[in-house]
Each structure stands twice: as C-alpha cells, then as structure tokens.
Subunit: 451 residues, 2 copies
C-alpha cells in the first residue's frame, strides 16, 4: 500500500518545472514578445502583446513546450483588418509558421524549440463585451494570475497530470474533458488538489459552483462552474457526463488505492486482426462497420459528426430491430462507424400494431388498408387492437446499411457528403477485423474498456 | 351487395325452431320432469324441479338438443345430503347417465335424443343469498323468462348465431366469450339484435350497462353488465377484451357488408407439415415449441394454465433477449407452448448496467464485484453509469428451454407438475412442423389469423 503523500510527491517531482526550465521559458517569451512588438511597430495601429495560457500562469507541466501570445487590437479596428494584421504580425514573428483557424485565422509555429500560437484578439473592456470567444482568454488569464499562489499553481499541475493520466483532460470535442481554465478554477475553488479530489469523489451531479456568486443562468449540465468573468457562461459546458463520472471514479481510486499509474495515460497495445477476431469469437456478436474516407475537417468538427452519425445509424438500426450490444466510432485516414449487433438477420415479417378497435375511423382505415393484402398475415386481433405481420423493409442489417435508406438517418453533414460523393464500404462479421490494420489501438481500447 | 334484412331473414329461417321441434321438446321435458318427480317422491325431502337454460326460455338455436333441469332443494339440507340426493335423482331419471363436476357433482345423460344436465341446487330466497354459483341460475332464468317476448327471444337467437359465427360465443375459459345469459341481457337492454350490433360497432370500452340501475361495485373489465339479480356481479367478467373487440369488428362488418358467412363458424383446413414448413420459410422466424402430455384436467382449468405458462415462458425468454414475433398454445392429447422467436441464438455477452457513479456505496460495490473478473468486459463508463458486458446465462433459447431454469418461470400448476413428472420435449426450427400431424387445424388458424 503506497501512501497518497508519496505518490503526490513523486508526481510533483515529475511535473514541476525546475528553475532552469522556468528561466529558459521566460527568456524565450521575452525574445518572442520583442519580435512581435517589432512587427507591430510596422503597422498603423497600437496593440498590446499578452502572454496567456498555462505557461503564463506557471501551471504548465514540466516539459510542455507551448507558448500562447495574444495580440490585442483596439475595438475600432474592423474584423477584416484585425485578421490581416494578426496574420502579418504572426508571419513576421514566426517566419516558419503556418496558418490555422479557430474563431479567426492565426499563425502557429516553432520558436526556439517551443510551439507558439500567435492569436489576434480585440481589447474589449470586459468579458461580457467580447466579439469572439478568443477575446475572453485574456480575462481568464488575468483572473487566475491574480489568485493562483505558487502552491495553488503547483496543485493545478497535479490535477492536470491526474486528468491526463485518467484521460479526462482537454476541452476539445473529441475528449469533452476538463479545460485548463476549468482545472485551475476547481483547484482555486476547493483550495487544492486533494480537496478537489475529495469533493469530486462525493459529487452528486448536477454540481454547481459559482466562485464569484454572480451566476444568472440555469444550466442543464452535470457540472456547472459559472465563469468568474461572465455570469452567463458555464466553464464546464463542453464536459461530458462521462468525464465527470470518470473524475469521480478515479478520485475514489486515488483516495482508496493511491498509485502512480493513475497519473500515467494508458497506451494500449494495438490489437491485430487475429486479436479482434478472437474477441468476436468469444463475444458471438454480429459486428458491422461503415467505412469511409474521414471528412477533411478539424477534429472539433469531425468527432461530433461521427458521434451524431453513429447515433443516427444506431438508433435507426435499433428501430428496425437490430439492437447493438455496443458501438464506437474510430477515425484516422478513414473513419468507421462500428456496431456490434445482437443479430444481423431478423425474420422476414415484423409485427405492426394498428389502432384500438374502438377508435372506429382509424380502425376501419387500418383494416381496409390490409384486409386484401396477400403479403401480410392478418389483420387479426391482439387484445383490443388490430395487428398485422408485414414484410420487414430490411431483414438484414447489411442490406439496410448498403441501401440508400442509410442517408435518411441523421448523419453529420460532412459525413453524409463524403459517403454520398466518395461512397462507403460495409463490412460484416469477421471481415470487420480487417480494420485492425488501421485501427488496432482503437479496437484495443474497445475490447479492454475501463472507466 | 346483399341486404342486411335478407341475410337476417335467412339466418332466422335457419335458427328458429319450428313448431314441431318446440312441441317435441316440450313433450320430452314434460316426460323427463315427471321421471325426476317420481324419483324425488322416494326421498324424505321436498324439492322443486325447474327447467332452465335456453330451451327453457325459447332462445335455443334450432337443432340444439340441450335440456337443463335443476332440482331445487330446501336450504336446511346440508351440502353432503344435497349432493347425495342430487345424484340419486339424477341416476334414477337418467339410468345411462354419468357424473360430472361443476360446483358440485351432477348427472349428465341422454334422454330421448336430448343431452340432459340434471343439477341439484339450493332454493335460496334471492340471488344475493346463493351458496354456490349454480343457485344463481334459476334467478337468471326467471328474470329473462319474465321479460323476453317472442320477438326478443328470436333476436337473442340471431345474436347467438352471430357470436357463434364469429367465434365469440361461450363463457368457458378457453373461449372467454359471451355467455347465453349475457347475450340475452344485451338483446333485452338494447331492444333487439340490430340495436345491439349498432351499439357495439360504436362502443368505447369500458362500457357499463346496468339494466336494474342497482350496481354498487366498480369493475375493471372492458364490458360491464351489472347482473340484474346481483348488484355486485359483472355478468361479462369472463369476457376478454379481445372478444369485445371481435364483436365490435364483426358488428361493423355486418352493417357495412352484410353476409351469411358471418353467421357460419370458420372451419379451416388443417395444415400439413409441409404447409407449416412453408410458412416458417416465408416468415424466416426461429420457431420453438415445448411439448408435453396435456394435464388431465377440464378445459376450464387447462386453457388458463396453458396461457399462464405461455406468458411465463414468453416473458422470461423476452427478458433474456429472445423476443417472440407471436406465440400460441395448442392442446389435444398433448399440449404445446409455441413461440416464433425473432432469433434463437444471441451473443455470448450481454450488457449489464450498474448504478450511477454518484451513488457511491452501490457504485463502489458494483465496481469491486467486477473489477478483477476476467470473464467480463469492463466495468467501463457509459454516461454516468458503470456497465459490464458479462456472459449470458443462455445464449440459446433451446438451451434455456431444456434447462431446469424453465421451472423458475410462472407455469400453471398442473402444467408444471406434468412437465416435471413426465418430462417434455423441446422442438426448434423446422422440426416444430412435425406437430402439424396433431395440431394441423391450430396451425391453420395461427397462420391465417383473422379478427
């Protein structure tokens, strides 16, 4: 039995940046800021350069090499000009950089071994007056910087390391986990890492925290942390119920059986085709998969679309009698909607209930519609209703998936476009295991699922 | 298009007994009554002889050859003596007769070509004071005899013929249809056959009728006809919702497309084994059947028990993932619980949901119960809950039916006894068609179901 204090001491050793790393980072940020200021001097506008993010607040994990610099332009600049100036400054400061796109385009590039994001924003007066989400970041940064003591910053690092270890860190829409800002706010609110963990272990969602006691809005989320800089925003809006539960599960694990591995992300060994086939054999399910080229969009668009598509296909299959034991979506160069069905073939007939006899108009309409239909069994009575057994549209899940009817379900827009334009492949049974060559690691997680 | 009046005239012709039949019946009843009186004269007790039933009220269908004579003993006679005297009189009047058992034993036998029931009862003062259900019959008889005019009696015959034609006549527990008494009360209440049919076509169950406006009890039945001789009894208690719906359906048919065949019971041609197999092929279902010797009990016990057993087996199969498209029970020398399943084989694993994470005690208990179990997949998170995929107890419906677990479901007591004592056979797939040699007619009705 390891002691919690020992485990945390070891993690602190790993994640606390040493003085040399801090000094080096500070020097790099200074040099970079200077380059940006020089580039700004060429422009007919005044702008401030702000360092934001975890490296600005001392909450980065040792070895992280991300620098976020925001260039804050006056609010009377029009948006087009802001984007143009932002990119000009970015390319001047980071000549090797490339453009990316969040709320507006910005430049990302390497500088002296660090990954730099150089993002233009508006210098608004308060977070309530923002023009785009990035304008909020400086307010978040200022709020935390004023309140995080060195001890609290150290505990924020611990909490981040823990959330990374258990797979709940990151507010991207693939993960739907805890953002850096949320992580630090929780440490601030509860007063330290252990306090957060003890509280989370006992949470009864929905949990609502409001550090500035100024919240004005009800939110329908399992965890609500009212943004200290904006009373109408839930900082945890993106967080899934599953990641709240994940934190709760591992918080209890940490308290009951403290161990280092909880701070170490799991990296499962990819399953081979044979490995996947062995699981199918053992589970005796009827696997099917829809495979298509991954739409060329950012992950924050891709994963929500894949999940929506999987939901759409899964519910329509279930409505048609093909219930899934479990399902998942994978993405790499190709994307996969994977469902393990209980049965891939069903009877040719299905029960179709009509109205109760006493609803005379409907009942007569139903009876007349089917009474001379040679294709159906019935109409007959079951209790007080008419029932027929009619031919199923699709007695085979694969036939359904290969048909145009699959486009009638709610697919993600880009997923639908790619499937329509470039086609898609339907795999069934053991053939699904072929996907292991591209998705071996995803299959490994699927067949060794943990909290 | 045939006219309703023409159809009814033809049916009247068929079912109205002619004067010769009436005279012959009256004479036979007189002679039989005399024999009963003679037998009674030998006994140290006074008793009345009453003719009851449809032949007593002129509501029998031409050709029916049932005579019901009740022997009404004084209420101070003890029950043992009543039974003894009843049987003595019965055997004296019907020397070829045999004993049957309803509420108490009675003698049934042939007399001059008629089927005679000779039933002892108590001469109670009112229907509220009855000692057994048979004591009520004389009151029913008197009530109707006083009110049924010749025209109403003729309409009661029409209604009976109609209910027989559509398969809804008979208050036995196999049919759960309309009793003779209920049929006649409805004609009396609505004022004639056509009035009943028009009303029934528009019924919105629950329908409550109370001819004597003296009802004191709420009943949870689709049709309630408060017994004119007993304010606490629903004459239609045995009637199933399906037979109410059946009357409604065929009432509309008769009004919209009057035709003689509605008065002619359907007698389907038995299906051969090949015929049954063809239906299985077309339907692509997974048929299974439990076959055992029919318990040696009267039909009024047998059919409720078979239905209860089928319900028990069907719901347990469904709970285990084996849903049925349809099911039925058949009885002859052997009895059958027959289910057409959507699938007879399921995956080896099944999803098993644990508690939500926030219910800490239960959640921890669930997690600990499974975390070291090599046989399960998980525990993992699905939303805010733990889930495992564990091995199904029965991945095959046949394995379940062949196992002792089948005795854990709610079977009828006699069914369970026979299955345990003498064993039972499980048939699956095409082999079920072998039952056509014994149950060809039942299969014919099953595969050509009508209202």
């Amino acid at each position: 039995m390891t002691d919690l204090a020992d485990v945390l001491a070891t993690v602190r050793d790993r994640v606390d940046p040493d003085p040399e790393e801090r000094a080096r980072l500070a020097a790099v940020v200074d040099r970079l800021t200077e380059r940006v200021r020089e580039a700004l001097a060429e422009l007919p506008v005044d702008a401030r350069v702000l360092q934001v993010g975890s490296t600005a607040r001392g909450t980065w994990l040792a070895g992280d090499r991300d620098i976020d610099l925001f260039v804050s332009f006056p609010t009377d600049l029009d948006r087009e000009r802001l984007e143009q100036y932002g990119l000009e400054v970015g390319h001047a400061a980071l000549p090797e950089g490339h453009e990316e796109y969040a709320e507006h385009p910005y430049v990302k590039g390497e500088f002296e071994g660090f990954e730099v994001d150089l993002v233009p924003c508006y210098d608004v007066e308060s977070a309530a007056g923002i023009r785009s989400a990035v304008d909020r970041t400086p307010f978040h940064n200022a709020y935390l910087r004023d309140r995080l003591t060195d001890d609290l910053a150290a505990d924020a690092r611990l909490f981040k390391a823990f959330l990374k270890g258990v797979g709940a860190y990151g507010s991207d829409l693939k993960t739907r986990g805890f953002s850096g800002y949320l992580t630090e706010l929780l440490v601030l609110e509860y007063g330290g890492f252990e306090a957060v963990v003890e509280a989370a272990a006992d949470w009864h969602p929905p949990v609502r925290l409001d550090p500035e006691s100024h919240g004005e809005t009800e939110f329908d989320d399992p965890l609500v942390v009212v943004d200290p800089t904006d009373p109408n925003r839930n900082v945890a809006a993106v967080l899934s119920a599953e990641n709240v539960a994940r934190l709760q599960h591992y918080a209890r694990e940490l308290l009951e059986r403290p161990r280092l591995e909880l701070f170490e992300p799991r990296e499962p060994t990819a399953l081979s085709q044979t490995g996947v086939r062995e699981h199918f054999d053992r589970r005796e399910t009827a696997p099917v998969a829809l495979v298509f080229d991954a739409p060329d969009v950012v992950d924050d668009q891709l994963y929500p679309q894949l999940r929506r598509s999987l939901d759409g296909v899964g519910s329509e299959l279930e409505r048609r009698g093909f219930a899934a034991v479990r399902s998942a979506t994978f993405a790499a160069d190709r994307a996969v909607l994977f469902l393990e069905l209980a049965a891939a073939e069903l009877p040719a007939v299905e029960r179709h209930e009509g109205p109760p006899i006493h609803v005379r108009d409907h009942a007569e309409g139903f009876f007349e519609a089917y009474e001379d239909d040679e294709e159906v069994y019935g109409p007959f009575l079951d209790g007080d209703r008419y029932v027929v057994e009619r031919e199923r549209d699709y007695a085979s899940a694969v036939e359904f998936l290969e048909s145009d009817a699959v486009f009638d379900v709610a697919l993600g827009a880009h997923v639908e476009r790619v499937m329509e334009r470039d086609g898609y492949e339907v795999l069934a049974g053991k053939a699904v295991a072929e996907l292991a060559t591209e998705f071996g690691e995803q299959f490994a997680r699927y067949f060794d699922p943990r909290p």
